[in-house]
Amino acid sequence: MSQASLAKPPRSAEKSAAATVLSMLWRDKLAFVSVIVLLFVFLCALLGPALLGDLATDQNLRGRNSPPFDLSRGWAFVLGGDALGRPMLARLIYAARSTMLVAAGAVIASLIVGALFGLVAGYMGKTVSQVIMRLADVIMSFPSLLIAVVVLYVLGPSILNMILVLAITRIPIYLRTTRAEVLEVRERMFVQAAIVMGASHWRIIGRHILPQVAPTLITIATLDFAFVMLAESSLSFLGIGIQPPDVTWGLMVSQGRPYLGNAWWLAFWPGLCIVITTLALNLLSNWMRVALDPAQRWRLEARSTTDE
């Protein structure tokens, strides 16, 4: 490990990709912790609901708002109980799934659609590009609240529809970024080189342009993940977001807000979950900015740990 990858590194290139990524992560301790946090959240989202069973949903009106750090009601109540007497900890784990589902769904959907249109807008002629950009403008100026109400009213409140609402509002971000990057990348010499070799449009887009654009998009997506979580909670606050029995952290904060004065833990823990996850995503995206760029990657590649 201490072998520096100096000037011309015939370093054990056989090292598996996973190991390389791990060691690069280890170099940035904050990103490392972030990944652990996110993995944990992801595991909660994946397995939590199945493991918890009814623990997260069983109500107890007469034992509501029990204070945190009291183990007399079992480990699940270590973070207190909510307004319906359900254990906060179990609720948080249970809510992780839909929170992640909404955020990831919205981000992935908007990323795919936005990037696709952005590629087309950036690569195709001026007319197509103009039409797409104007459409993006329209979406940008379309108030997300109205989209939310339209979708909610016409399609009903569900996680899928919430994903739809949030995805629509985020499309322009990816579209604009992709287009701007494509406009720049397509003028680069290696794209010209590919044309000289006879590469088709799809090949140029897929092999030469997309890989250059992807890291930027992924970095933005990571940040956007955080943004979407906050946007979702804002919609919940306004009463046009996720509705029970579905539950997300954002909804929990919103529902806990009347209790801030006398049962702070109802809104505090889910808020903390959002802050921590958002923070982790931000730090991870900073790391990715470097790690996904081959020219900068060396900064994170293994080197003597005694180096400062």
């Binding site: 949903t57 069983d58 109500q59 009106l61 007469r62 509501r64 307004a83 319906l84 109400v149 909610l152 009213y153 009903g156 409140p157 009463g239 046009i240 509705q243 029970p244 029995p245 529902q255 807000r257 009347p258 209790y259 801030l260 004065g261 006398n262 049962a263």
Partner: protein, 499 residues
């Protein structure tokens, strides 16, 4: 750019500060802004709280503090002339805030406005099937003829505010009334100011000036009174009401219930309806999700209403009974596995979401295939009013109904008659009972309503009646004021005194 900003700041500072209330001026913090300050819309509670009896007055007034029943206001007396005609003797020496004198012509004009095609006045709905003809006898006497005869016409008169006959047939922005206050300022989005006026016919109230401001967050409203920025916060939540010295609970005339469709499977079976009633642990909500003081409902109207039946008992919480009833129904071929969707509206009342979640859980616990759907107000209306959308199972609509008018007639037809807009029942016997009670007067009327309530509650178990709600108001300690059941719909400044 700078002058603009500085200007904006200066402008905002020039607005009277709401801080540090002193003397006899008060500030009231309401939950939502008023769209209109239109007298004929005063029956809408958020408008009524500002206008009703403060700016505009009515001919009659229902006593909610004592048991005086219907009291004179702008009408000094009234009598049934028979044949559906009532004669009202009007108070003399009353002037509007614009200086003009009040007479019978104003009363006629006020009603003409209500029934006008040019504006959509709320109070019109109370006269849905009644045709009124006005006959101005002299300046202080007016005959009102109702077809068909309307036994509670004097009570209905407490719902229509009187405006001067010059008032145009469109929504006004500067309401003129006979009340003790006059609106002196309306800054959209910010505040409405009422000033006490000279020349009011009655006793001068203690409050000289009332400023109404609007904050949607209950914690903020409660906090404003605590911080001295406001004197009355009529609607706060139980969570925010943590100071017994300032926070009052009072029945607010709202009744929460689950509307069942008696024609839909599986709720068409009375055993299922009984099971639903038995499955709900009503007591568990009180003092937890709902404020202490909330009462269990046995009728659509609060106990202060005419004909309320004290003999009815709320169904006991008995999950075993519920399960047994379901099993019986199932044995008789009722498909008890059909989905039951509980429809509740966000922000219908404080903690509505939690209440709906708990209800769902309770129904699920006894074996119903229940699920919850929270909807927003426009969508709720679709489920609540006819025609109801199709559904494979049945929908239970969580609804809140307000009747502070003292008579069940304002509720029973809509909620229980076959043609009622929000009715889940189609029972000819019940239709007849409602019609009979509506037409009756006096003690007979009370008895008939009583009977009807019993029929609905015990005989056909038409719905799942849940709670008579309480409202919570925070009142500054410097005021001598106790909120009442009417505080929901009106807030008479003349009832407020200073300690």
């Amino acid at each position: 750019m700078k002058p603009l900003l500085v200007g904006a700041l200066l402008a905002s500072t020039s607005v009277t500060s709401a801080l540090a209330q002193t003397g006899t001026d008060i500030t009231v913090v309401l939950s939502e802004e008023l769209d209109l300050v239109e007298p004929c819309m005063a029956t809408r509670s958020n408008i009524g709280r500002v206008i009703m009896q403060n700016i505009s007055e009515t001919l009659t007034e229902l006593d909610v503090r004592g048991d005086a029943g219907l009291m004179p206001r702008l009408a000094e007396s009234w009598e049934d002339k028979g044949n559906g005609t009532w004669q009202f003797k009007l108070r003399q020496g009353v002037t509007f805030s614009d200086g003009s004198a009040f007479d019978a012509g104003d009363v006629k004009h006020s009603f003409d406005r209500v029934f006008s095609e040019a504006i959509t006045c709320e109070s019109k709905r109370y006269f849905a099937d009644t045709k009124l003809t006005f006959d101005v006898v002299d300046d202080t006497t007016i005959n009102v003829k109702a077809e068909p005869a309307q036994p509670i016409l004097p009570l209905l008169m407490s719902l229509v505010t009187i405006v001067p006959s010059e008032t145009p047939m469109e929504f006004v922005r500067d309401p003129i009334g006979t009340g003790p206050y006059v609106m002196t300022e309306w800054t959209a989005g910010q505040q409405i100011v009422l000033d006490r006026r000279d020349g009011y016919w009655g006793a001068q109230p203690a409050v000289t000036k009332a400023t109404y401001v609007f904050r949607s967050e209950p914690a903020v409203r409660a906090g404003m009174v605590a911080a001295g920025e406001a004197d009355i916060a009529p609607q706060i939540t139980a969570e925010a009401a943590d100071n017994p010295a300032t926070d009052f609970a009072y029945p607010n005339s709202e009744t929460v219930y689950l509307r069942l469709e008696n024609l839909d499977a599986p709720t068409s079976d009375i055993r299922i309806r009984k099971a639903l009633n038995a499955a709900i642990d009503r007591e568990a909500f009180i003092g937890t999700l709902l404020p202490a003081g909330t009462e269990l409902a046995v009728a659509m109207v609060p106990p202060t209403t005419l004909g309320w039946n004290p003999n009815l008992k709320p169904p006991a919480f008995d999950p075993e009974l519920a399960k047994q009833l379901i099993a019986e129904a199932k044995a008789d071929g009722v498909d008890t596995s059909l989905p039951i969707e509980i429809i509740a509206r966000t922000e219908n009342f404080p903690n509505v979401t939690e209440v709906a979640e708990a209800l769902t859980q309770m129904l699920t616990d006894v074996g119903f295939n229940a699920s919850l759907r929270m909807v927003e107000v426009a969508e709720h209306e679709q489920f609540y009013s006819k025609p109801y959308p199709e559904f494979e199972g049945t929908r239970l609509v969580v609804a809140q109904h307000d009747n502070s008018r003292g008579d069940p007639v304002f509720s029973m037809f809509f909620k229980y008659a076959s043609d009622g807009t929000q009715s889940g029942v189609a029972d000819p016997a019940l239709d007849e009972m409602i019609a009979k009670a509506s037409a009756a007067t006096g003690d007979e009327r009370a008895a008939l309503w009583s009977e009807t309530f019993a029929y609905v509650h015990d005989t056909i178990v038409a719905d799942v009646l849940l709670f008579h709600m309480v409202g919570l108001s925070r009142v500054s300690e410097r005021l001598d004021f106790t909120p009442t059941i009417a505080t929901n719909a009106q807030l008479q400044l003349s009832e407020i005194n200073f300690k």
